[in-house]
């Protein structure tokens, strides 16, 4: 069982960049993107992230935008709905569509634009992290950023066993299908309920076996992780400069309206 996003995470050109810097970079950009009053800042963040992911990390643009189309799928309808149907105070453009009078308001247009730019910047930030950072490194970054151990250990185990259980699930589902388990709606329901019970029981069994295996390697209730993360000084400098500039732009554009 493989996810193509995962494969890029292990093979992209930025995989060796310090993961702590990546996480910090993404977190601060998400925060700046959300708190900015004008769409300019989120838009700059969006462009930077796309540049970093496609040009610097060398992720194929096609795969990247396939993932990007998912948030756009709801952001664009929401954008249209906001400018036409949410109402506002400053009328801007009015036109007739098949006898319906449609009114566009300046303030709602600004709001809609801000909303879409925030969606774009947030999504691009998370995709950057997802495409360039393997899960293993994210957990060690979380550890260095002092997230409680129990959360890291759980997320690590869950991540690993998603693939194992998913694999088992596909096999069981296939075996049900080959014995015509999903031919009618009623049979499908029955098969699905059997499948989910079984997967649950299997997962429990796996857990027990894993515990025995871990105890055989002297498990004492705490999973220690090997983590290594070296911060490159230039990268850090670039990060600080970028965030400083973003903060300046955010301050300068705080009262800016597009229309």
């Amino acid at each position: 069982m493989r996810l193509f996003m995962e494969e890029y995470a292990y093979s992209n050109a930025l995989k060796n960049t310090s993961v702590r810097l990546k996480v910090l970079f993404v977190l601060s950009n998400v925060i700046f993107g959300v708190f900015s009053n004008s769409p300019i800042v989120p838009f700059i963040i969006f462009c930077t992230m796309v540049f970093l992911t496609i040009v610097m990390a060398k992720i194929p643009a096609r795969d990247y935008f396939t993932w990007f189309s998912i948030p756009l799928f709801y952001a664009i309808p929401l954008f249209l709905a906001m400018i036409f149907f949410f109402g506002g105070f400053e009328p801007w453009i009015q036109f007739n569509l098949l006898g319906f009078k449609l009114m566009m308001y300046k303030d709602s247009f600004n709001n809609a634009l801000l909303m879409v730019s925030r969606v774009l910047s947030g999504t691009s930030c998370l995709l950057f992290l997802a495409f360039t950072t393997p899960m293993a490194k994210i957990s060690s970054a979380l550890k260095l950023l002092k997230v409680p151990d129990i959360i890291i250990e759980l997320s690590m185990l869950i991540y690993r066993y998603i693939f194992v259980v998913l694999d088992e699930l596909t096999r069981m589902e296939l075996s049900q299908r080959t014995r015509l388990g999903y031919t009618t709606f009623k049979k499908s329901l029955n098969s699905l309920s059997l499948l989910s019970t079984n997967v649950f029981i299997r997962a429990m069994n796996r857990g027990e076996k894993l515990h025995i295996a871990m105890e055989s390697r002297c498990y004492n209730g705490k999973i220690e992780l090997l983590d290594e993360d070296s911060i490159h000084k230039l990268t850090m400098l670039a990060l600080i400069t970028f965030e400083g500039l973003i903060f300046m732009v955010m301050y300068l554009t705080k009262d800016l309206r597009i229309v």
Binding site: E7, Y10, A136, R160, E215, S216
Partner: protein
């Protein structure tokens, strides 16, 4: 000395199933022990007693002369001594990357970081997985996962490795690779205990076999002893190794002779014994030959002999024979019904020692020297035993003929008159020598061997 011993071990699962019914077994240090028996015979349950995971309801487990204690400190101590590799690697490998998984055990022992790093590196190298250190486990194939599982246990540096079905669910190459790895670990002094359903593997590879049935030990002995007892084999629902079955069929037809064979080498010996004077393997020098033609044999140093087709009575001709099958010039051929005197010439085996991973491995060897040694001796076949020897051969860009089951393949090739060069690591060298010596004593055909020391570049 017995490294593991159990005395009257009994165990009942909480649901009342009596899984073990008084098991007494003694396992010698440095041996390879196979546990065979049907599903549900109690093999896995017995294994879980060896590292203290299960506590016997009666009887005890004795490690190095001391009975196991079940307090947490003694258990940690025990588990660094007895490493357990489970059947399904997915039950064992849990970390997001290979390296983190292998480091799990050493980190639990609170070792310093550089020691952890050293052990992880050593363990991954020993199983040939160092290139996959940063990969997540679900990117690996079944055989690779198994190797990582072994590495995870090796990193604890145990003296005993217990493996539940090491070759189950692996492709043929994958199983051979695992056996090679285990063989190398065993040559380095580790005791290996494994369960298997592969009778041929147990017969060929184990020093002793222990037959388990319904929670009891039926018989424990050398492979020869076990497979000589045909009634026991059929009563416990096992089967004889393929070689033994084939041998019995050939024997009643008067083709095979000698003792019951457990390996390919013994088998070939048992088949070729009645013929060894009448048949010889030669290389054709001149034109093509057809089956049934009479030929003259000319002795030649180095190879066995050359054939002259339509032999006239040349002064050089020392013997005559009949060609067994069609062949083209330059090919090897079997000639039978030989009259005159010839002594079959065997090839030589040259052993080249390669440093172990701990001794610097492939980095401690100058590849140019390796190429020079090969150029000097120009062997017919080249073999590599042990992880670092394989790495050296691959690095030097040498095409290797034998990478698995090297000793046996080399002896078989030498018996056919070919010269073999074997690159071997550490304890494997002694194994090769032992095996050749015992074969020389056994078969009456002398294979010459020598150890070529090459200078380390460090």
């Amino acid at each position: 000395m017995d490294i593991i011993k159990t005395e009257g071990l009994e165990y009942a699962y909480p649901d009342g199933t009596q899984a073990l019914k008084g098991i007494s077994i003694a396992i010698e240090k440095g041996s390879k022990v196979a546990l065979v028996g049907n599903n549900g015979a109690g093999k896995s349950t017995l294994f879980l007693h060896f590292n203290g995971t299960l506590r016997p309801t009666r009887g005890m487990v004795i490690i190095e002369g001391k009975p196991i204690k079940y307090d947490s400190k003694s258990l940690i101590n025990l588990r660094t001594k007895v490493g357990m590799v489970f059947q399904d690697p997915d039950d064992q490998i849990f970390a997001p990357t290979v390296k983190q998984d292998v480091a799990f055990g050493p980190l639990n022992l609170d070792l310093p970081r550089d020691e952890v790093d050293r052990r992880v590196k050593y363990a991954l190298k020993s199983v040939g997985m160092e290139a996959y250190a940063d990969k997540p486990p679900h990117f690996l194939s079944g055989g690779q996962k198994k190797r990582v599982a072994i590495a995870g246990v090796l990193a604890m540096e145990p003296e005993i490795i217990v493996m539940d079905e090491p070759t189950s669910a692996l492709d043929p190459q994958g199983s051979l690779d695992i056996i090679e790895i285990l063989d190398e670990l065993n040559a380095d002094g580790k005791t290996i205990i494994f369960s298997t359903h592969d009778i041929d593997l147990a017969a060929m590879w184990a020093n002793s076999i222990c037959v388990l049935n319904e929670g009891k030990i039926i018989k424990h002995g050398t492979p020869d002893q076990i497979f000589a007892d045909h009634t026991m084999i059929s009563e416990t629902g096992l089967r004889l190794p393929t070689f033994v079955q084939t041998f019995r069929e050939l024997k009643v037809r008067g083709i095979s002779g000698g003792d019951s064979p457990l390996t390919m080498l013994n088998f070939v010996e048992s088949v070729s014994k009645p013929f060894d004077v009448l048949k010889a393997r030669c290389t054709i020098a001149g034109a093509d030959v057809c089956a049934g033609e009479n030929v003259g044999l000319i002795m030649k140093n180095g190879t066995l002999c050359t054939i002259r087709v339509d032999a006239d009575l040349n002064a050089k001709t020392t013997a005559f024979g009949r060609v067994m099958h069609n062949a083209k010039a330059g090919e090897d051929i079997v000639v039978s019904e030989i009259t005159g005197t010839i002594t079959p010439k065997t090839g030589e085996i040259n052993i080249v020692p390669i440093p172990r991973i701990i001794e610097g491995g492939s980095r401690a060897v100058d590849l140019e020297t390796i190429r020079a040694v090969i150029a000097e001796h120009s062997p017919h076949k080249i073999g590599a035993m042990g992880t670092s020897a394989k790495v050296v051969v691959r690095k030097a860009g040498i095409q290797c003929d034998f990478e698995v089951d090297v000793i046996q393949s080399s002896i078989l090739a030498a018996l056919r008159g070919l010269n073999v060069m074997v690159f071997a690591t550490g304890g494997m060298i002694e194994r090769v020598i032992q095996k050749i010596e015992s074969n020389n004593k056994h078969s009456g055909q002398e294979i010459k061997f020598s150890s070529l020391a090459i200078q380390a570049s460090l």
